[in-house]
């Protein structure tokens, strides 16, 4: 008996060692590595907890999480967001301003980690009937929570004659943002509101372009391809330490953009079938593969491209308009200073397009008073003066076209070339699909780009394969 106990104990200890954590939770900070720190705009599927779609639906009135006790007559709401550092301080200041100007409402803003962490928290909270009153969320998260019946559709508030937005006000919001927040699979209801938006821009080292004889920033894909090769030739001729002209961003968002900018579609209107297996996608993959083979493109890890750009080991990168806040300090410390420009990304001739990044904000089902209070907060935050102020301080983009009328914002546009480039292309920004299962399709798309660019697969074959997997993901 004692021997059996000893052997069993040893076996259990071995299994426990494989399991990892000992007594208390010892998971190291999951966001410490750059790869997992939301390098792409969208959160990857959460590793924890059971998927929300199969969870018990939190019926009508979800219990509010423990917000601060409200003063008499005051409605107190909890707001989850992912802003840290300087942006977090800006957000806290704006929330304080809202609380000061709205005596009957108290918004308690809580920073809940990065988007992945927030996703896990929201899933756990949805199961425990303890969702916050309002939270920042990506489209797929809103989709998941809508399936759990926890999200409040906003059309009712937007169109309300008393507390809603006038038709002019609604038209003032950039059309792409409106489209982004209307969910086709839920009867085209508006389930969230734009919050921290950005767009894809192309960052170019213009000194290098000029030195290599490229007279203007590429606007079409043909010009882009030619410029990559020209600058690579120049770099090789001058024996520069060189990684490749294009620091390829293999994220699905960039691939989506390359397809759409060449006139291709991504998904059927009923959100059930993928349409990305088309000539545009083949052309995009072929171009990237050719550039990589010619040494004119390479695949950087995580945020390495920022340092490579500053070290002049690469020429360009397609990435978020918020990136300039990060590359500016790095370039400032680089050994050889240079000028860079953020431009509208290249497209087919005559096409004006970019793809939008960034999260939206959604209201969860609680009580009518709290939901109304949450709507007041969203309405205030996205009103022209506030959205302009938010954009100036945080490098995100304003959600309204009338932000340009704010003198502070106009001054910021004059001073910041990337901000102006982003604002100018914003009317032409399109959202990516937000169908159920699209998160998996994004992973499939990224793997397709990786496979073709490293020579492991041919474009058409890889796309055929991806289409099969994507359709399965969208169906099930």
């Amino acid at each position: 008996m004692k021997r059996l106990l000893g052997v069993a104990t040893a076996g259990i200890m071995l299994l426990a060692a494989c399991g990892g954590s000992a007594s208390a939770p010892s998971s190291a900070p999951s966001s410490a590595s750059p790869a997992s720190a939301a390098a792409s705009a969208k959160p990857s599927t959460a590793a924890a907890a059971a998927p929300a779609s199969s969870g018990p639906a939190s019926t009508a009135a979800a219990k509010p999480s423990a917000a601060a006790p409200a003063a008499s007559g005051k409605v107190s709401i909890t707001f989850w967001h992912t802003q840290t550092g300087a942006n977090g301080q800006t957000l806290n200041a704006m929330v304080a301003a809202f609380n000061a100007s709205h005596p009957t409402i108290q918004v308690n803003a809580e920073s809940v980690g990065n988007y992945n962490d927030e996703y896990q928290k929201l899933l756990a909270a949805a199961k425990a009937n303890a969702l916050p009153d309002v939270a920042v969320a990506y489209e797929n998260v809103v989709s998941d929570l809508m399936k759990a019946n926890a999200v409040v559709p906003l059309d009712h508030y937007v169109n309300d004659p008393q507390v809603g937005l006038s038709l002019d006000s609604q038209a003032d919001i950039f059309p792409g943002f409106v489209e982004d927040n209307k969910f086709k699979q839920f009867n085209n209801q508006m389930l969230s509101f734009p919050f921290t938006k950005s767009v894809i821009l192309a960052y170019y080292n213009t000194d290098l372009l000029t030195a290599a004889g490229v007279s203007q920033v590429p606007q079409t894909w043909d010009q882009y391809s030619a410029a990559m090769k020209a600058v690579t030739d120049y770099a090789k001729k001058n024996n520069m330490p060189w990684n490749g002209a294009n620091a390829l961003n293999d994220d699905a968002s960039e691939f989506d953009f390359e397809i759409m900018s060449r006139g291709g579609q991504l998904i059927s209107d009923d959100q059930k079938k993928s349409l990305f297996n088309n000539d545009a996608a083949v052309a995009a993959l072929q171009m990237n593969a050719d550039l990589q083979k010619a040494g004119a493109a390479y695949q950087p890890n995580g945020f390495d491209w920022e340092n490579d750009l500053a070290a002049q080991k690469t020429l360009t990168r397609l990435d978020s308009s918020t990136s300039y806040a990060f590359i500016d300090p790095i370039i400032a410390k680089a050994p050889k200073p240079f000028k860079y420009v953020a431009a509208a990304p290249p497209t087919n001739p005559g096409v004006k397009l970019t793809v939008m990044y960034g999260a939206n904000i959604a209201i969860f089902k609680t009580t009518p008073q709290k939901q109304a209070a949450a709507w007041e907060f969203i309405k205030w935050f996205t009103a022209t003066p506030q959205t302009a102020q938010w954009s100036i301080k945080t490098h995100y983009l304003p959600v309204r076209q009338s932000a340009a009328t704010s003198p502070d914002f106009a001054a910021a546009l004059a001073q910041s070339q990337p901000l102006k480039a982003a604002f100018d292309i914003l009317p032409y920004a399109k959202p990516e699909p937000a169908a159920a299962g699209w998160q998996q399709v994004r992973d499939i798309l990224q793997q397709t780009v990786d496979a073709v660019v490293t020579g492991k697969a041919q474009p058409k074959a890889a796309l055929d394969d991806a289409q099969k997997k994507a359709d399965a993901a969208l169906a099930g």
């Binding site: 200890m13 954590s21 939770p25 190291a28 809580e110 809940v112 990060f326």
Partner: protein, 275 residues
């Protein structure tokens, strides 16, 4: 030692030095990077030593989040968890080792089985329970789930089982019952095991990230690891500040480790299985 023996030891020493180098390198990298500017911190090929030692990074890191408060929270939560875990571990471990009662082995197996469950599986059920008890946004939510653990019970049970029966019989002859024997004889004899348990608890509390993130919303209640997320952003990471922040966070643990090192090694070595 004869010189022949010295030469025979050389390969062993080389292997150990190389292994030591691998283990120490991340710390070396962390500390040197914490003094670099952002360009040097992310350079490829890597820059080994900063051109200018930026002590200001530590000040900037400290100010990026309320680290003083986070330290206090971690000490509070860690201290309470450790104390409670030691008490419950001692009581349960002693009972399972030395008190005969029906179902003793079954209960021990059950406790052991809980060690095998991955923590991620417990997040949702634990959160539901904590929320229903009204403990969301409290210290209690961070302490209570870890006030007892199968691992500590196992470790302490093994130690208590090794105490010779004669000691107990002698104590009984002097009029002691189980409880008195436990506190006055068994526990002082098992100091290595207690220190080991305390250390595991302390380190686990120090590393706690996911659970506190889920059960707290207010900044004032958060422990230290959540502070490090202040350096990461959607568009990049301030590596030099992150390294400075990490160094600050690690120092107390290193200190405790150095002080308790002797006890820890003894505890691990003696937690063997005996028949």
């Amino acid at each position: 030692m004869t010189s022949a023996r010295r030469w025979r030891n050389l390969p062993l020493h080389v292997v150990l030095i190389v292994g030591c180098g691998f283990a120490a390198f991340p710390f070396f990298w962390m500390v040197t990077t914490s003094f670099k500017n952002i360009y040097e911190a992310t350079s490829v090929p890597p820059v080994w030593f900063p051109s200018v030692w930026l002590w200001g990074n530590y000040i900037a890191a400290w100010n990026a989040a309320p680290f003083a408060r986070y330290f206090l929270n971690t000490l509070l939560v860690g201290g309470c968890t450790t104390a409670l875990d030691l008490v419950t571990g001692c009581l349960a471990g002693y009972a399972l080792a030395r008190v005969r009662f029906p179902g003793r082995n079954v209960i021990f197996f059950l406790f052991l089985a809980t060690v095998m469950i991955p923590f991620e599986l417990l997040i949702v059920p634990d959160f539901i329970i904590v929320n229903r008890l009204g403990w969301y946004n409290t210290y209690l939510a961070q302490i209570a789930p870890f006030a007892a653990s199968g691992f500590s019970i196992f470790l302490l049970r093994q130690f208590f089982a090794q105490i010779p029966g004669e000691l107990y019989e002698a104590a009984v002859m002097d009029g002691a019952g189980h409880l008195r024997f436990l506190w006055q004889v068994a526990v002082p004899l098992s100091v290595p095991a207690l220190v080991t348990t305390a250390l595991f608890n302390f380190i686990a509390s120090w590393n706690a990230f996911l659970w506190p993130l889920i059960v707290t919303g207010k900044q004032e209640l958060r422990p230290i690891q959540l502070g490090l997320s202040a350096f990461q952003n959607e568009s990049g990471t301030n590596f030099q500040l992150l390294m400075a922040g990490t160094t600050i966070v690690i120092l107390p643990v290193l200190l405790v480790f150095v002080l308790a090192q002797r006890h820890l090694i003894e505890g691990i070595a003696r937690a063997g299985l005996k028949g």
